[in-house]
């Protein structure tokens, strides 16, 4: 049985006062190729177990793996986007181990010769500052099969009687991206880790090389963290040797990355401050309880006996093709944001709100569909952000398209509906009642600007509010607002407010009516 007793932790402030954290992040990303890395099996998520398996990915004798050209190009593009050097020559290696999640008894990976190395990713933090995360390498490998542990109370390995393995995932192209030790993060280490994974996800999404869905496991993060004593003021922190690190696995959401690192820092600090040592080990993150627990101890287990993969020939990327791929890289997300911010004419703070609301792409698409920058931004960051928050979904997952938002704004601009009605139309669209014009028609939400109907409503309002009417007659034009409100209520919001105002003034203060219509 695993120990589930909570380990003692320290207050975060106490941790950062005494220690300097050093981060290391390993991100595995599944590529979205049609076939596996070394064979023609398909890669469809959720298919019937062991239905996407062949002699190559089963490791049957005599089977010959051949590299997927798109897998290779995706790896190069990822390396380029991470500002890496692309290897002039590299090869694959066998990583040998005895777990049954690879039927071959090894995982095909890269060891001493990764396809890409020595890069960095600039990460934007919540306060708008940028932190540069150094990237050690990005290498090609293949995913492992999926194990189901049977007999244990929790479905996990501990207490399981046996395991059931599905090899559909075995052989799916995987790129492992490893940072160098990230120093200088200080108390912001958890935030920086989260921002890095988030920026990496945006970058990979922009490259269209992966679905980058953390909840489906197509983007996975292992978080290494260690603590070293904080240098005395005036002394060089980088001269202090690194502490012993732990590696936390099973971190499957951006929020978990931040929480897991924060937790590990408070746990390691308690050990160090109470005179114990940090054990170098693999730990597992538990989303529900917010703690990590000890897994296999690394010191006893890791000898993968890497050796060059004899069945796959070396890769020598054509420099001309690499330059072609570099030229075709999409604009980096950070640069793109700066450009859009300038185009939209908004402040840093406003842009940050847009980014934090994950509304950049949605606003951009809404503008493409015909809305102005100001109106597109207003809808997504205000009304729709509120709707998303209420329903507990991501903005992009609301059942409304940028084109529909643009169409809604076009109806407002044409005077067909006003802002208040527009919100009702929005609700209709979100409820699946169709496009904005369909909702307007079905719900009868058109603004009434017909003089006859409005005139009758205005007469009723004047009759019901004689004192207000008297004030207006006496020259207090501002009091007309109260009558406009009364008419709007009468018309259930469907009146053209400007028109109502001008009708009121025409009746009570004819001299003021001009120019207010």
């Amino acid at each position: 049985m695993t120990t589930t007793v909570a380990e003692p932790v320290r207050d975060y402030d106490e941790v950062t006062a005494a220690f300097d954290p050093v981060l290391g992040l390993e991100v595995h990303v599944e590529l979205n190729t049609a076939t596996k890395m070394f064979c023609g099996c398909t890669t469809i998520f959720g298919a019937e177990p062991n239905s996407q398996v062949c002699p190559v990915c089963l490791g049957l004798p005599g089977a010959l793996p051949v590299l997927n050209e798109i897998g290779l190009e995706s790896a190069i593009r990822i390396g380029l986007a991470l500002n890496c050097t692309i290897a002039e020559r590299c090869r694959f290696a066998r990583k040998n181990y005895f777990y049954p999640d690879m039927p071959k008894n090894f995982q095909t990976s890269q060891y001493d010769e990764p396809i890409a190395f020595d890069g960095h990713l600039d990460v934007e933090l919540d306060d708008g500052t940028t932190f540069r995360v150094p990237v050690e390498r990005a290498h090609m490998e293949e995913d492992t099969g999926k194990s189901l542990h049977v007999g244990g109370a929790t479905g996990r390995i501990h207490g399981a009687d046996y395991s059931l393995v599905d090899y559909n995932r075995a052989g799916i192209p995987l790129i492992e991206i490893v940072t160098k030790p990230v120093e200088g993060a200080g108390e912001r280490a958890p935030e920086i880790a989260r921002a890095y994974v988030s920026a990496l996800r945006d970058l990979l999404r922009g490259l269209r090389v992966s679905d980058v869905r953390m909840e489906q496991g197509s983007l996975r993060c292992d978080a290494n963290i260690s603590l070293r004593p904080k240098a005395a003021p005036g002394e060089d922190q980088s001269a202090v040797p690194f502490g012993t690190r732990s590696e936390t696995k099973n971190v499957n959401s951006l929020r978990s990355v931040e929480r897991a690192i924060r937790y590990e820092m408070t746990r390691q600090a308690d050990r160090l401050l109470s005179g114990q040592r940090v054990v170098q080990e693999t730990r597992h993150w538990h989303e529900d309880t917010g703690v990590t627990t000890s897994g296999r101890s690394k010191e006893e287990a890791e000898d993968y006996r890497y050796f060059p993969e004899p069945d796959l020939v070396p890769i020598v990327p054509d420099p001309a093709r690499v330059e072609e791929l570099r030229a075709l890289l999409p604009e980096p997300p950070g640069v793109r944001r700066k450009r859009l911010q300038a185009e939209w004419g908004i402040s840093d703070l406003e842009m940050r709100d847009v980014v934090n609301a994950r509304a950049v792409e949605l606003i951009e698409a809404t503008i493409t569909a015909g809305a102005t920058a100001a109106t597109a931004r207003k809808w997504w960051t205000q009304e729709l952000a509120r709707q998303a928050k209420t329903s507990g979904v991501e903005l992009a997952d609301l059942p409304i398209t940028p084109a529909q938002v643009a169409a809604l704004q076009a109806l407002v601009d044409a005077g067909t509906i006003n802002d208040k009605l527009a919100r009702q139309v929005l609700e209709g669209v979100l409820a699946g009642e169709g496009d904005p014009k369909d909702v307007v028609a079905a719900r009868g939400l058109k603004v009434v600007s017909d003089d006859g109907a409005l005139g009758n409503a205005v007469d009723r309002a004047i009759e019901a509010n004689p004192e207000v009417a008297e004030k207006i007659r006496g020259g207090k034009v501002a009091a007309a607002g109260a009558l406009v409100g009364s008419v709007m209520r009468d018309m259930r919001g469907q009146a053209d407010a400007a028109k109502v105002r001008s009708l009121i003034l025409a009746r009570l203060a004819p001299g003021e009516a001009d120019g207010n219509g």
């Binding site: 046996y162 059931l164 070396p314």
Partner: protein
């Protein structure tokens, strides 16, 4: 001293799920010992100035297009499994979490 013991061969056989009788173990242990001895002789010859050869053929950049090819089908795949359950390979309890 032999390069590989009879016990080590028996252990490897059991890891490889190859059922070997006592006579077969005797024979194979002897044969493997000869092979390992030959490898050891090569290792002595290869100096530090000779890089390890991982790929004897002068081939590079062999790739295939990202085009699906038929898989085996789960029935055929599982036919090779010692035990299967729920369409999956049933294996002894392992030490590592997923």
């Amino acid at each position: 001293m032999s390069a590989i013991s009879r016990e080590e061969v028996a252990h490897l056989a059991s890891l490889s799920r190859i059922d070997l009788g006592p006579a077969e173990l005797d024979t194979l242990a002897g044969q493997l010992d000869v092979i390992l001895g030959a490898v050891a002789a090569v290792q002595q010859v290869a100096g530090d100035d000779v890089p390890a050869t991982s790929h004897p053929m002068p081939l590079t950049n062999v790739t295939r297009s990202d085009t699906p090819r038929p898989s085996l089908g789960s029935a055929a795949v599982l036919a090779g499994a010692p035990e299967a359950e729920q369409g999956r390979f049933r294996v002894p309890r392992i030490l590592e979490e997923d």
